[in-house]
Symmetry: C2
Subunit: 222 residues, 2 copies
């Protein structure tokens, strides 16, 4: 038990597997850090079909169809609700792990780049949390969602050091801060935290160091 004792933290997932869903290692390390701090996880995902399915051995799309919520349930052993059941009033904090699923299923960044659209339920919960002055953590590519939804509030965020992605964050109204993989960027005004995770990598241990730091700070702010 620790800083998170009894705090309720929403975790928004986007599938199961980094090429078409949530980055499994980032999501699992998030769950581990939250459980170690005594927080109560409420996982959620959109109950709709994934953009596509990718064979993770060959890194090639397949013809299969899978549902985001059903696949995300694999990571959390079935303990998950449809995203439209996740509300800021029931939460003390929110976390969005990364993976291409964020850029393919939670928003359209992978396809539309700077003209991305955010899934309406994702946009709703991020806006609700911001309006309620509750902290939110965005991992890997997920800060792009905060940049798009909260751009008018000029959020301070990191996606690591990729120049093109950082430029998009700025075009959406955000301030991009370069950050190493085991560190976090904190926006004290908007109560946003971010860490680069597998935007930088290269392996799970440094990725986990950044995520653990993010969760520790998130729970202090919650």
């Amino acid at each position: 038990m620790g800083r998170g004792a009894g705090k309720r933290v929403g975790v928004v997932l986007s599938g199961c597997g980094y090429l078409d869903g949530s980055e499994i290692q980032e999501a699992t390390v998030t769950l581990l850090a939250l459980d170690r701090e005594g927080a109560k996880v409420r996982a959620a995902a959109p109950d709709v079909e994934q953009m596509h399915v990718v064979d993770h051995r060959l890194a090639q799309p397949t013809q299969e169809k899978r549902n985001i919520l059903v696949e995300a349930a694999r990571i959390v052993r079935g303990q998950i609700v449809p995203l439209d059941e996740l509300h800021a009033c029931d939460l003390d904090a929110l976390v969005v792990p990364g993976g291409y699923g964020v850029a393919k299923n939670l928003c359209s960044f992978a396809v539309d780049g700077p003209r991305l659209q955010v899934h309406p339920e994702v946009e709703r919960v991020v806006r609700e949390m911001h309006a309620a002055r509750k902290p939110q953590g965005f991992i890997c590519i997920a800060p792009m969602i905060a940049a798009k939804v909260l751009g008018s509030h000029h959020p301070r965020l990191t996606i690591g050091n990729d120049p093109q992605t950082a430029t998009t964050v700025r075009e959406l109204g955000g301030e991009h801060v370069e950050c190493p993989v085991d560190e976090i960027v904190v926006d004290e005004v908007n109560l946003l935290l971010s860490t680069p995770a597998y935007m930088l990598g290269p392996t799970i241990a440094p990725v986990a160091a950044g995520i653990e730091r993010l969760i520790a700070r998130l729970l202090v702010m919650a």
Copy 2:
């Protein structure tokens, strides 16, 4: 870096998701502990169809067909080889995380109970490691494989405290030792380590404590 610096550890996966493949949290915590100790992971899985596919939200089988190796690749970001390419001569240690995939895909315990058969490539690599006097870690239900393959060597193992499963371990020639989730059982003669993980649970933090202890000891023995 630590006890594992440069040591080569095989990780045998059985799919992706606890109801039809590897338990994702156990597998990821294993990868994290190995990376933190500086070990080099060589992940592998059988390149054949899963026994079946289970919807993890409803806990119900579906009509889909999925390949064990292709699904397991999700957990390790594509860095995986077919199990027939994994050989004891290339490894310093081996780990088998749990999940029903172990009892459905790596052996037939879920269907056949005490009359289980072990996948021939799983049996081969476990026998090779044992003959080469290299340590092996078995997590959750995976000790059942060690009990079946190495039963004539009377392996000392834990699957937690489930009486029926413990009875099967004994019927196969093993000695079953009750063990709490955050602890391990060590067989110094056969160089086998085991921890109950989600055979006991209840959540990822205590499961991770047991797995971290197992990996630390495995790398000392390697």
